[in-house]
């Protein structure tokens, strides 16, 4: 039952335009990584890690995940097809789980694949590749759950999600470490920093918290989406 929903959501999220656009963005990352790798900077490890942080964790991971995850339940909710899922004896948590899982399935290769290549070609070494794999994966999982819930909660979730990513995470949360605690990016950046062993500003969350908080955020978001789906009116 969950598998059927998962396949349905996978097919509905995977549109050529979305995939092509995001692969193009990933390609930009790879080209930039090549540029870093072939440049004569003194510290490729530092330059590469900063690049993965500012491009991969601040832009590609959240935006790509937003595009797919917010559509997983947001599109059916807005176009009225949610009724064909809602009016079935399927526990709501399974619907939310299928949405999050399908979003992760689609987003993970689109985000992590190009970022791994980009990290590798920067010449920063294997630590950065490992750090990129872990931090980007954690980011995709956490953002998937959060943006699935957002898609269910608000209309024009894409716009609200972009505001969160660009204004909150990209600007407000950069002001100080207190504000940074309320941004997923701080935790994924800390993972990147810890595993790559490179200092990054505002990447001062403990290793355990850097794992746990995104996971807890995903669980809370999934729980909220389940409650929301149970109680909301369906068009």
């Amino acid at each position: 039952m969950t598998a059927s929903l998962y396949r349905l959501m996978l097919r509905s999220q995977l549109t050529r335009a979305r995939v092509a656009g995001l692969l193009a963005l990933g390609a930009v990352g790879i080209v930039t990584g090549l540029a870093i790798g072939s440049s004569e900077v003194v510290n490729h490890q530092l330059a590469g890690t900063r690049f993965i942080d500012t491009f991969g964790l601040a832009l590609l991971a959240p935006v790509a995940t937003l595009i797919f995850a917010s559509a997983a339940l947001g599109d059916p909710n807005e176009d009225g097809t949610l009724v064909y899922i809602w009016l079935r004896p399927v526990p709501r948590w399974r619907v939310v789980l299928a949405a999050i899982a399908s979003s992760i399935t689609v987003t993970l290769p689109i985000v992590v694949g190009p970022l791994l290549v980009a990290a590798a070609v920067t010449g920063a070494g294997a630590d950065l590749v490992r750090a990129t794999a872990v931090s980007a994966s954690v980011a995709v999982v956490a953002y998937s759950a959060v943006f699935v819930a957002l898609g269910l909660r608000v209309k024009r979730a894409l716009m609200w999600g972009l505001l969160y990513v660009l204004i909150w995470e990209g600007f407000v949360a950069q002001a100080n470490s207190s504000a940074a605690r309320l941004a997923i990016r701080s935790y994924t950046r800390s993972l990147l920093s810890d595993i790559a062993d490179v200092y990054l500003r505002l990447a001062d969350v403990s290793f355990r918290a850097a794992w746990l908080v995104p996971l807890i955020a995903a669980i809370v978001a999934g729980g909220y989406a389940t409650v929301r789906l149970t109680r909301q009116d369906v068009a």
Partner: protein
């Protein structure tokens, strides 16, 4: 409300019980203090666009809960009971489907989620019932409006639900398909299922020949058997055109009769009569014409259709 319930007995077994239900969205009252019960068989929910039919159906399906009052379907609260969803089939009004699926995939998905034993076989049967080819490999995105509507109906009947809620189900269908589906709904009703069909087209309701609930401006304007509607048609003010060879003489004779409230000449060979008692008028017209020395050519009601009844009910 116009009470038509005296003619037919109320349903013995109330599958749907709606008591003093109101539903509002912000300042807009969609449904106001509506009460009715529905038993097995076909029941038509009749009313103009915006009358609250879809809101009532959505509450019956559990898609939304009433702001006030109670809705019980099979003795359950449809908004809170997850298992209830396996007993109901809904044809929603909105056009959207999962566009990337074929009709077979769409209906089979519904059967799978509804835990039907053999989803593929059930999907085939349902698609055949509505006159669609299970082997059609085209995506529903390329389907005509009528085909899309039949896909919606197929997904609603794929699990042979106890309750079938159909929101304007004949929209977009050609006359042959309409007849086919009306037969299907009547067959399901005759099997003991509860079929609730909403429509703003009175001709459709007349074909269902069923119990009727009339909604107007969010309120229940009338309820009863279709035959009671027919009786109401006789009881309400009527307009009748009578063609005769001596219309002036006939008009004088008609004015003297009971129940005739107005008579006017219509061309050289006809009079138009407004009467409050159509049955008595029909019985008396031949004698009145004879007394006036007029030969009758034609007696034709000008508003003998459900549209007129509906206007009358809403107006009252």
């Amino acid at each position: 409300m116009t009470d038509l319930a005296a003619a037919p007995p109320p349903p013995h077994q109330a599958v749907v019980a709606v008591e003093q239900v109101s539903k509002w969205f912000g300042d807009v009252v969609a449904v106001s203090e509506v009460s009715f019960s529905i038993g097995p068989g076909v029941t038509a929910l009749l009313g103009p666009n915006g009358a609250g039919k879809s809101t009532v159906l959505r509450m019956l399906a559990g898609l939304t809960s009433p702001s006030q009052g109670s809705v019980r379907v099979l003795g359950r609260d449809p908004h809170r009971d997850l298992e209830f969803t396996s007993k109901v089939g809904l044809v929603p009004q909105q056009d959207a489907l999962f566009e990337m699926l074929t009709a077979f995939e769409f209906v089979k998905l519904a059967a799978t989620l509804l835990r039907v034993g053999d989803p593929a076989e059930a999907a085939e049967v349902a698609l055949n019932e509505v006159g669609l080819e299970p082997d059609d490999r085209r995506r529903v995105a390329s389907f005509s409006k009528g085909m899309r509507q039949r896909v919606r109906i197929a997904q609603a009947i794929v699990h042979q639900p106890q309750i079938l809620l159909l929101d304007e189900p004949l929209t977009g269908l050609d006359p042959r398909q309409r007849l086919h589906l009306i037969d299907l709904f009547q067959k399901l009703g005759a099997e003991g299922r509860t079929v609730v069909v909403s429509s703003h087209v009175l001709d459709e309701v007349e074909r269902f020949g069923s119990r009727v609930l009339v909604l107007a401006q969010g309120r229940l304007a009338a309820e009863g058997d279709f035959h009671a509607i027919r009786e109401l048609m006789d009881d309400r003010p009527h307009r009748i055109r009578v063609r005769a060879d001596r219309p002036r003489a006939l008009a004088s004779g008609l004015l003297a009769g009971d129940g005739v409230v107005a008579v006017r000449l219509d061309g050289a060979d006809a009079v138009i009569v407004d009467t409050v008692d159509a049955a008595r008028f029909r019985r008396a017209i031949a004698r009145t014409a004879n007394d006036a020395g007029a030969r009758l050519y034609e007696v034709m009601p000008l508003d003998d259709d459900l549209e007129s009844v509906f206007r009358y009910l809403v107006g009252s």
